[in-house]
């Protein structure tokens, strides 16, 4: 199957068009860097042809400044190992931003591939008083231009018609460099022909246009080719022309000429609606007030509004439990289904509404265009710890889950800042921590209202974030890497009405993925934990046979727990909490599951209207040390909360860090350092707190 690449500037609507062309549900967002790796889908044209459509990360040019832009360049030049060069390109251009987006088109034209331009957002351009002469634009570029409005599906069929085989002719180069540059292109092309390099002219132009491409090690280009290119560039430079500068200026000039001919922009001196909104939301004082207030509303909603759907989920779990277990005879099987499976999985599933609410608000920020404004506001603060505002987007994504957050660092241009951001990203409290926070905060502040609980929850987020920033500040001078000069540069897209269709589709995906995790990993661990808690069974006639607590202590879980206890006791935890912490190393949510399983052995019965969570909290509150003092004092709970703010406890994150940094050293170092830090912080909270309480 032939491959067609979809490329374009960030915010040009590539992913929306990809979804419209393939029927896929790829994630879109109104800020740069949503697509951070190549994604593919199947495109069927009205003529019955079938292609693989590649959605490549957005880029402003083919001279990459970040790893995700490099992916786009390497795929298009055929330099990416293990990937065939695409047969054709669909280049998405924002009609309301023609002057800026055509620069990339001029670069792609030089690659020697058939191209179709998808002129997207024509409705927006019309609203802004921009008239684009599509025929003239097509003529000047020498390739088909199809006007479309991807978010409404308009023009998509025309675009599919334009992609049909045979593909359009390969367009000719649209710009002309000066004499020295043109000579360098011709000389280098003929030199490269002799080396057998595919697409010698495309490579020749790119080698001359991008200093880094010819001077730095590239996976697809051997040293000899680079040396030839450097020699050709040197010849041009000696005759007074830096080929990269000349090519860049020539392309820009050509774009301006084309725009003058094919697009007419009405003079709009006044401020747009987005400009007026930005005057408030990016105001040095009002902007922060809005940011802080909206964050507070998010946390308050998570604690107050989420109660209702959580009640429904709980009722559903109870119903399932009564239905399934009701008619079962007493015995291990009933225990396994009731305590191991339903309580274990239920103790995590109940938090689904809170997780979805947090993701809903992040989705709102993404689709309205506020996300990049938040990054703009945060740049000032982040620069003080040696990070750019660009690190904010990956860090904010990490509040949902550290894995996409770490992957989003591919949009960052500085390798050093990227590494720093990856190192601190897991300290942004991800949604997997929410179940633990909710359980413990509810226990700590049982008599307080949703507002106080929301404030404490917000405090935990602030604690994680501020420690992360402090760590970045401390690590920055120690992380090796060139002190390359990076500049804050970011597109602030127009504000748009939230795309609820996208948000809800994304929420359904996340809910499904969460339930799938609950149904696999968490179910598996629940069953293992139940088995560890149940076996070996006490012998008949022994004291343990009639004392569930004693039986638990003698079980495998009890034995493991007692082995762990010396490590966790200084933090204020008993062996059951210690076992839960160890189980939670694979995934944090398992902490609740483990506690639910451990504490279900108590003989207390809750036949009243108490909810499942209240029962678990009550059982935890009732747990005592051997001397009768309670295990879960407010101090222990605070120590646990602090431990969960800081501990990494997510093996998939460690695997992703290994992949993104290319080194086990960083991944395991991060795991070890964060675990040690979490232990130390929890130790200090408990021990220092004990001096005063």
């Amino acid at each position: 199957m032939e491959t067609i690449a979809l490329v374009g500037n960030p915010n040009s609507g590539k992913t929306t068009l990809f979804n419209a062309l393939t029927g896929a549900n790829q994630k879109t967002g109104n800020y740069a860097g949503v697509t951070v790796s190549r994604v593919s889908g199947t495109l069927r044209t009205p003529h019955g042809n079938k292609y693989e459509l590649l959605d490549l990360p957005g880029c402003y040019s083919l001279s990459p400044n970040s790893p995700d832009e490099r992916i786009t360049r390497d795929v298009l030049l055929g330099d990416q190992e293990g990937a065939e060069r695409p047969s054709a390109v669909v280049c998405v251009v924002d009609a309301s931003n023609l002057e800026r987006h055509l620069y990339l088109v001029t670069q792609i034209v030089d690659l020697g591939l058939p191209i179709v331009v998808a002129l997207n957002k024509v409705d927006l351009a019309e609203k802004q008083g921009i008239r684009v002469n599509v025929d003239l634009l097509s003529e000047e570029l020498g390739l088909p231009v199809v006007p479309c409005q991807a978010n409404k599906g308009k023009g998509v069929v025309d675009l599919k018609h334009a992609i049909r085989q045979p593909f359009p002719h390969i367009p000719n180069r649209t710009w002309q460099g000066d004499k020295a540059t043109e000579k360098a292109i011709v000389d280098l092309t003929s030199e490269l022909e002799t080396t057998g390099l595919e697409q010698p002219q495309a490579h020749a132009i790119h080698l001359l246009a991008d200093v880094a491409y010819r001077t730095e090690e590239q996976p697809g280009i051997d040293r000899g080719v680079r040396q030839t290119a450097m020699d050709a560039a040197d010849v041009a430079i000696r005759s007074g022309t830096a080929p990269d500068e000349n090519i860049s200026q020539s392309r820009t000039r050509r774009v301006q000429e084309i725009c003058k001919m094919a697009a007419r922009r009405q003079d709009t001196q006044g401020l747009t609606t987005s400009d007026k909104i930005d005057q408030i939301l990016l105001h040095p004082v009002l902007g922060w007030v809005f940011f802080a207030t909206s964050m507070m509303v998010v946390f308050w909603t998570i604690f107050s509004l989420a109660e209702y759907p959580m009640g429904w989920v709980e009722a559903g779990i109870d119903f399932v439990k009564n239905t399934v277990v009701g008619g079962m005879p007493e015995g291990d099987v009933k225990d396994l289904v009731s305590d191991g499976i339903i309580d274990g999985v239920g103790s995590v599933v109940i938090f689904l509404p809170q997780i979805l609410l947090l993701l809903f608000f992040i989705g709102l920020m993404e689709t309205t265009g506020y996300m990049s404004r938040a990054a703009f506001l945060m740049d000032n603060l982040m620069s003080k710890v040696g990070l750019s505002g660009k690190a904010f987007l990956p860090l904010l994504s990490s509040y949902a889950c550290a894995i996409p957050g770490i992957m989003a660092t591919r949009t960052m241009d500085s390798a050093k800042q990227r590494l720093l951001t990856i190192m601190i990203a897991p300290w942004m409290s991800c949604t997997a921590r929410l179940p633990v926070y909710a359980l413990l905060i509810g226990m700590l502040l049982a008599g307080y209202g949703a507002m106080v609980q929301a404030l404490v929850l917000a405090g935990l987020y602030v604690l994680g974030t501020s420690t992360a920033l402090l760590a970045a500040w401390l690590l920055a001078p120690r992380v090796k890497g060139s002190e390359e000069q990076t500049h804050f540069m970011m597109e602030l897209p127009s504000y748009t009405v939230p795309d609820f269709k996208f948000i809800f589709r994304h929420l359904i995906e996340r809910a499904w993925s969460f339930l799938a995790k609950a149904g696999t990993i968490i179910l598996g661990i629940s069953i293992i934990l139940w088995a560890l808690k149940t076996y070996p069974k006490p012998e008949e006639g022994t004291p343990a046979a009639s004392d569930a607590g004693l039986a638990l202590e003698q079980s495998y879980m009890g034995q493991i727990g007692h082995a762990i206890e010396p490590v966790v006791k200084p933090l204020g935890y008993d062996w059951r909490t210690g076992t839960a912490l160890v189980a939670a190393f694979a995934a944090r949510e398992v902490f609740n599951t483990s506690l639910a399983i451990s504490y279900s052995v108590d003989e207390e019965e809750f036949e009243d209207e108490d909810s499942f969570l209240d029962q678990l909290r009550a059982k935890m509150n009732a747990a005592t040390w051997e001397d009768g003092t309670p295990i879960y004092t407010p101090l222990t709970t605070m120590s646990l909360l602090v431990f969960f703010v800081y501990a990494l406890q997510c093996l998939p994150t460690t695997a992703v860090v290994r992949r993104e940094t290319g080194s086990w050293k960083w991944a395991l170092g991060q795991l070890g350092a964060m675990s040690a830090f979490a232990w130390l912080a929890a130790f200090l909270v408990f021990q220092v707190g004990s001096l005063f309480v």
């Binding site: 001279s63 930005d278 703009f376 597109e491």
Partner: protein
């Protein structure tokens, strides 16, 4: 002295984007510095009319109807003149 300063001002009507006041309609006269290639790629190119919307550590400019935020150090590399 005031006259000299006025003459100097007339002799160099171009200023940097960082120095220009917020709210001004400007035309880019030249790009000077290490990041000028990147700036061109982002749409800041010679002859382009831009509007500086806000000032500060990072400034916001309207370029072809899109708001771009950029640091003062980048703004220093964009020479502009009043329209």
């Amino acid at each position: 002295m005031i006259a000299d300063a006025a003459n100097d001002h007339h002799a160099t009507p171009a200023t940097t984007l960082s120095q220009a006041s917020a709210g001004c309609q400007l035309r880019i006269s030249q790009l000077e510095g290490k990041a000028c290639k990147r700036l061109r790629e982002l749409g800041f190119c010679e002859e382009m009319e831009i509007c500086k919307l806000s000032d500060g550590r990072n400034m916001i400019c309207s370029v072809c109807g899109t708001r771009m935020a950029l640091s003062r150090k980048l703004g220093d590399q964009v020479m502009v003149e009043m329209v």
